[in-house]
């Protein structure tokens, strides 16, 4: 890198020039926020606070969407009513030392809305655990090595479900122990539903499960504090 380029990168808060290997699509939430800022009328562009993400009403000037790097957990014996068990892992190690995490939101996306499908009204149960201890050979964590974070039922109507995991993500960073999460989705305990269609068919509507991602907002102390100081002066 030429000296100028490395100094310019440094001023942009980047220690090195990124070299993406397999760049993927831009998450729609980021594109929307980018477009909204870009199309602000020039008269109040300078009013836009670059150190606050107004869309989530949190301090921050860096928004990242992490793709899930976990894997499905396949048990030998199908468990009663369980449709899906998946380990979720988001690699937050790219966050720089001087970045303060202010928000983390998990999104579970299904491939389509199911307002009109046969499974309308079928209720599922979702459990999300924080893994506190890695079990051997990636098998499901035992009760004592995971902490229940979310337990809720839902009807598969909406395309995606959102969960606030700010506390968990801050834990991961504070204690440098990011062992991921475990997601379980099962059919709710409606006996008739199981009797009539069979677990297989009811889980089929969950099979359109597309992917999970974690949106993380951080505040660069170096960039936002310095600019505050300059503005005050």
């Amino acid at each position: 890198l030429s000296l100028q380029e490395s100094l310019l990168l440094k001023s942009l808060g980047l220690s090195t020039k990124p070299s993406p290997k397999t760049p993927g699509p831009v998450p729609s939430v980021l594109w929307r926020i980018f477009q909204k800022r870009k199309t602000l009328p020039s008269t109040n562009k300078d009013l836009a606070d670059a150190c606050r993400v107004e869309e989530f009403n949190v301090p921050g000037n860096i928004i990242r969407v992490f793709a899930d790097q976990g894997h499905f957990i396949h048990n030998g014996q199908p468990q009663r009513l369980l449709c899906l068990q998946k380990r979720l892992y988001f690699n937050l190690s790219v966050l720089e030392e001087g970045e303060h995490l202010t928000m983390a939101q998990l999104e579970i996306k299904f491939s389509h809305n199911s307002y009109h499908t046969s499974s309308q009204g079928q209720v599922f149960e979702l459990r999300l655990y924080q893994t506190s201890q890695m079990s051997l050979r990636g098998m499901p964590s035992h009760e004592h090595s995971r902490k229940l974070l979310v337990e809720q039922s839902f009807a598969r109507l909406h395309k995606s479900l959102l969960f606030n995991l700010s506390g968990v993500a801050k834990d991961w960073r504070a204690y440098s122990r990011n062992l991921g999460l475990i997601l379980e989705i099962s059919v709710s305990d409606g006996a008739s539903a199981v009797a009539s269609g069979g677990l297989q068919s009811l889980c089929a509507s969950i099979d359109s499960f597309l992917d999970t991602s974690l949106l993380v907002v951080t505040l660069s102390q170096q960039q936002c504090k310095a600019s505050r100081r300059r503005r005050r002066r």
């Binding site: 942009l12 020039k17 990124p18 070299s19 980018f34 670059a50 000037n61 969407v65 300059r230």
Partner: protein
């Protein structure tokens, strides 16, 4: 592209001048997703005595131009600097192929002053 593009009326008074920064010119097009470049502008021009209102001057600048008019060799004219700036947002890939949206403050010169 740092060529000098005067706005509508060529003038040597302190005001913003157009400066377009093209990220592909600096070879960043493979990791910056958007924008491809942006209008950063810069300030250039004189701060002559007397300073008029549209030159966005500080009281000190008014004082300095007066002294400069009396003693041009001893005291320089005030500087022409940015007085109103606005942020830009950049979408880019990091080294782990994550898509990052980052807001940067004070990246566009909207107004200059003495």
């Amino acid at each position: 592209r740092s060529a000098y593009y005067p706005l509508v009326t060529p003038s040597n008074l302190c005001k913003p001048r157009r400066l377009y920064i093209s990220f592909s010119d600096v070879g960043w097009e493979n990791w910056i997703i958007a924008p491809q470049g942006y209008m950063a502008n810069y300030c250039l021009g004189e701060c002559p005595f007397p300073l008029t209102a549209e030159l966005n001057s500080t009281n000190h600048a008014i004082l300095q131009t007066m002294v400069h008019s009396l003693d041009p060799e001893g005291t320089p004219q005030p500087c022409c600097v940015p007085v109103r700036l606005s942020p830009i947002s950049i979408l880019y890939y990091d080294n782990d192929d994550n898509v990052v949206l980052r807001h940067y403050e004070d990246m566009v010169v909207d107004e200059c002053g003495c």
